[in-house]
Symmetry: C2
Subunit: 209 residues, 2 copies
């Protein structure tokens, strides 16, 4: 339940940034509920769980709300992350760095086991995999993205975890093993698509998966 609430806080934050760009000074729980796809009472419940209160009519000042949420989410500092694998997914993530930067996330380096792919002059340098562990230790990197073929993912993960990585977004379609000290989130785009196709063919509708 807490995970879901935290997840919604991130979504509220994105919606609030959007409202702010549109010039909103105040929002109501209804606005946020609409934007996020929950009920207004859920919005108020989520906020009151973190002692964020609105005015009597359920209104919140956009700036105050954003500041509160960012504080809860620890979004005040830039988080440096690394990517392992410079194939299609790895390169797409590197190119997407601008999008991550908006959320105070910065990809600082990529690594590839194929050292011929190394490119130290790139804005985000692509380095040989052998340099990864030292890099993680020296820079105190805590979060990494695995975008290598499934056969290599477990080994990559172990080297990462041994060097001090505590959180992993894993694009390889396998379950990583032996993870007592790391938070792992699997992203499997083919599986996601298969699910959608299944529900479409089963005649489902009006569902957010």
């Amino acid at each position: 339940m807490i995970k879901r609430t935290i997840n919604r806080l991130f979504i509220y934050k994105n919606a609030l940034n959007h409202f702010k760009k549109l010039g909103f000074v105040k929002v109501f729980s209804d606005n946020l509920a609409d934007a996020v796809g929950v009920t207004p009472s859920q919005v108020r419940k989520d906020f009151s769980a973190f002692a964020i209160s609105g005015n009597r009519r359920g209104g919140y000042r956009v700036n105050d709300l954003l500041e509160n949420i960012n504080k809860i989410l620890g979004k005040n500092k830039v988080e440096e992350v690394i990517v392992v694998g410079s194939g299609n997914i790895g390169r797409a993530l590197i190119r997407y760095n601008e999008g991550f930067m908006k959320e105070n996330i910065k990809i600082v380096a990529a690594f590839d086991t194929d050292s011929s792919k190394a490119d130290r002059d790139n804005a985000i340098p692509i380095l040989p995999f052998e340099e990864m562990a030292d890099f993680i230790r020296e820079k105190g990197i805590k979060v990494g993205i695995i975008a290598v073929p499934d056969g290599a993912a477990q080994h990559v993960f172990e080297v990462m975890a041994n060097a001090g990585i505590k959180g992993v977004m894993n694009f390889a379609p396998i379950m990583l093993k032996g993870t007592p000290t790391a938070v792992i989130s699997n992203v499997n785009l083919a599986l996601e698509l298969e699910n959608i196709i299944y529900y479409v063919n089963a005649g489902e509708s009006a569902a957010y998966l």
Copy 2:
């Protein structure tokens, strides 16, 4: 609950394909449980819900099991999908088509509102957005991927849905509205990373998000 079971069937299928490549002829619920990260009794429960039975000692023949699961999941035919947006994410998806093909999913065309990006000679043609609705109708496409900036996503979605799209994987960080006839799955990579970072900084460990 049914959604979770279906989702696990897809994961079992991936694990089984992996086992098959490794030369396995039979698997036990323990093997699948290990690979998928659930308990062996969950595996047996999932299969018995679809009247798939193993032998007395919980063993299953890999080929039989795969055939059964593929039948349930309707994976016997290739599903043609389209991508809208040929920016970083769109192009990464196109390049990843090989990976999708393994799952009988084929990206047949991409569309871009910027018609200067059109490239009809590409293996997967990139076409002007104005041609999308006719393309969807003529080819009977049911599933599309939205990889456009957030400001364009709602409009793109409406044109898609009006032309007959029933399922959407949405990479734009907004909630799509007015969706009585479509299945939608949101993929927000920045949000995913933010979540991981939050739990890492909160000192969580050993968790699959």
